[in-house]
Amino acid sequence: MMNKKAFGAVAAAAVLALTACGGGSTGGGDSAKGEINYWLWDANQLPAYQECAADFTKANPDITVKVTQTGWDDYWGKINNGMASGTAPDVFTNHLAKYPDFLKTKQLVALDDAVAQDNVDLSQYNEGLADLWVGQDGKRYGLPKDWDTVALFYNKTMATEAGLTPEQMGSLTWNPEDGGSYEQAIARLTVDKNGKRGDEPGFDKDNVAVYGLGLPNSDAENAGQTQWSYLSATTGWTTTDKNPWGTHYNYDDQRVQDTIAWWASLTEKGYMPKLETTVGANAADSFGAGKAAINSHGSWMIGQYTGYKGLDLGIAPTPTGADGKNASMFNGLADSVWAGTKKKDAAIKWVEYLGSAACQDVVASKAVVFPAIKTSSDKAAEAFAAKGVDVSAFTQHVEEKTTFMLPITDNAAKVSGIMKPAMDAVISGKAPASSLTAANEQVNALFE
């Protein structure tokens, strides 16, 4: 049993700290000096932010920034425990699926006063990104740092062998009934141990050498962000009644259940690996090793997918749905200030710097991710192009406004605690898609 007494003490301390800092960003002369801690989870972005930190210290010699990177799997646990024990970082990279829980426990500093005082131009960011970080209380809890969309990474050599041209791969269609040309391509790209393709007679679905579509997991935690949300969204389905701050989930809807049923059927047909075989496996690495022909994934993975030596990589837009359009979840990260920080002024200054073109241009030049600021975002696309990577499959979603926002609601951790086992059961064929209705009732009971 953990020492819960300590939590109580820390909680009290955090509340004290909150009230002490309530005076806005001008209070406390010394709080704009010293070392501040900054955390992020993506190792690919670490060099860019270390450069930003060095530049920041050059401009503000009184403040140094210690940048710490922790992998996604441990990141949130560490942040939560740090908040409870009073050792959380002053500033950290925040995620839309997580920040409502931080707001509920009053762990974040509102940035409105600082934004007004320092004239931060919120229109410089890509449309909608800044507003994602406004809580239900109308206050702003983060400044946008980057955004991501979803596209199909595919193995060009395999596609050519299967007789699929880049044009065909770039104009796939999908519907929940027969999967459209997307399923045909997936079937064609699946090859069994005897060299038979998924759409050929005699295909052995129990001995597959190359899967048409790679499967990392059921992706329930982020509402199917990179796995199936780009399909379900084309049916007109939305995860919640409204976004942000919806209070009713829609997993009982026929449209999403049809989408998931179709998706799960790929495993049954042998076109996608069984869920049980992917536990502990890294989907990107399996793709890199030639075990899958297509992986749908987010733009933050471009660096990793282009990094596999000897693999001719193609990037195609997500398939168009029944409405004739394609769709991608749009996720925007931001940097937030922890309410328990002892150096609030310095922390806010650093967040403003992270949200400025000075830092985001540096990030853009590394070609790892798309910064939130429009001009920096364009620079990133150029940097990718200079490396020989065509990222238009990702950027077209923003240009053509075919994005939808990652659902932001309260109780996110509890929702994923219910939805993940439920979704896993469907994907692994243990339960029909209609079983999601029961899970949905459990989820909605959280909001009553």
């Binding site: 955090a14 049980e276 496996a281």
Partner: protein, 313 residues
């Protein structure tokens, strides 16, 4: 039976130590005794008693680390009784405990007898303890990697001898037995050592008498070794059963409760509710239930297996 007197095992706490009772020295002894007990007592009160009492209190509240716990009476317990995941956790944990204990005790007993009769070398005896010296998490990750469906060496071997690959961690049937086997592997050396110590405490004269009476090896084992080992076996069982019920780290670093709910053991479910979902009241109530289960199991074991009595007297 004077030769056996020195093998008498000191009875556990509270069953009466005649020497040093009463008399004028009592008060002086108490001060010294308290001084010596103090470090352990402070640790016990600070890290066990206070958190336990607070945990019991929190189990009657709604509490999310921050803010004040709100008293809600027995509502957490009512919710738990209707929580399918709790009953699932109980079943899964039970399955784990049974596999782990049955295998571990049998293997450890075999190993202990081998240590006693055959492997006299300290190096070999020491080597049996090696897995236990490895941190739980390291052992779990090592096996996670070796048993991986795609790249694990074990599955390469399985395929090489012509059998289909096994999703050790990914399939619902295999996930719990796999975790139990890993922990059996890690702990059996230590358990064997405990039993080995018990074997050494059985006087040689008993075996001599048996062999004079013409007893065969197996019958000697069944009629002499096992009965005389009982107190040690009970201790081993109580300790390993309690340890098994609290399985957490292996699950946390490998399957994290999945696939679906196949490895959502009680301790992991407590962690999930309290730390991931910030429902510390509910988590505490689950922890209290686990505490009660363990107390009951330990009581039953001690009572019916007469763990605090020896047949050597």
């Amino acid at each position: 039976m004077t030769t056996l007197a020195k093998h008498e095992r000191p009875a556990p706490l509270g069953s009466g130590m005649p020497a040093g009772r009463g008399g004028p020295r009592k008060r002086g002894d108490l001060k010294v005794a308290l001084l010596f007990i103090a470090p352990a007592l402070i640790g016990f009160v600070l890290f066990y008693l206070v958190p336990t009492i607070r945990g019991i209190y929190l189990s009657f509240t709604e509490y999310s680390i921050l803010g004040e716990p709100e008293w809600i009476g027995t509502r957490n317990y009512e919710r738990i009784s209707q929580d399918p995941l709790f009953w699932n956790a109980l079943g899964v944990t039970g399955q784990y405990v049974i596999i782990n204990i049955a295998l571990q005790t049998t293997l450890a007993l075999g190993l202990a007898i081998l240590m006693h009769r055959v492997a006299k070398s300290t190096i070999i005896r020491g080597a049996l303890l090696m897995p236990y010296l490895m941190a739980n998490v390291i052992a779990a990750l090592l096996w996670f990697w070796m048993l991986d469906y795609q790249i694990g060496i074990v599955n390469q071997l399985i395929e090489w001898i012509g059998l289909p690959r096994v999703a050790f961690f990914g399939s619902e049937q295999w996930a719990i037995p796999t975790q139990a086997l890993i922990n059996t592997w890690r702990h059996m050396g230590y358990t064997a050592l405990l039993i080995f110590a018990g074997l050494q405490a059985i006087p040689h004269s008993v075996y001599e008498a048996a062999s004079i009476d013409g007893s065969k090896a197996f019958s000697t084992f069944r009629r002499i070794t096992l009965p005389l080992l009982r107190p040690v076996l009970v201790l081993v069982l109580v300790v390993t059963v309690i340890g098994s019920f609290q399985v957490f780290d292996t699950v946390a670093v490998t399957t994290a409760g999945g696939p679906v709910n196949a490895t959502r053991v009680l301790q992991f479910y407590i962690y999930q509710r309290a730390f991931n979902e910030q429902d510390f009241g509910y988590g505490s109530a689950l922890a209290v239930i686990l505490f009660l289960i363990l107390a009951l199991v330990a009581f039953i074991q001690m009572k019916f297996l007469r763990g605090n009595q020896s047949d050597l007297d």
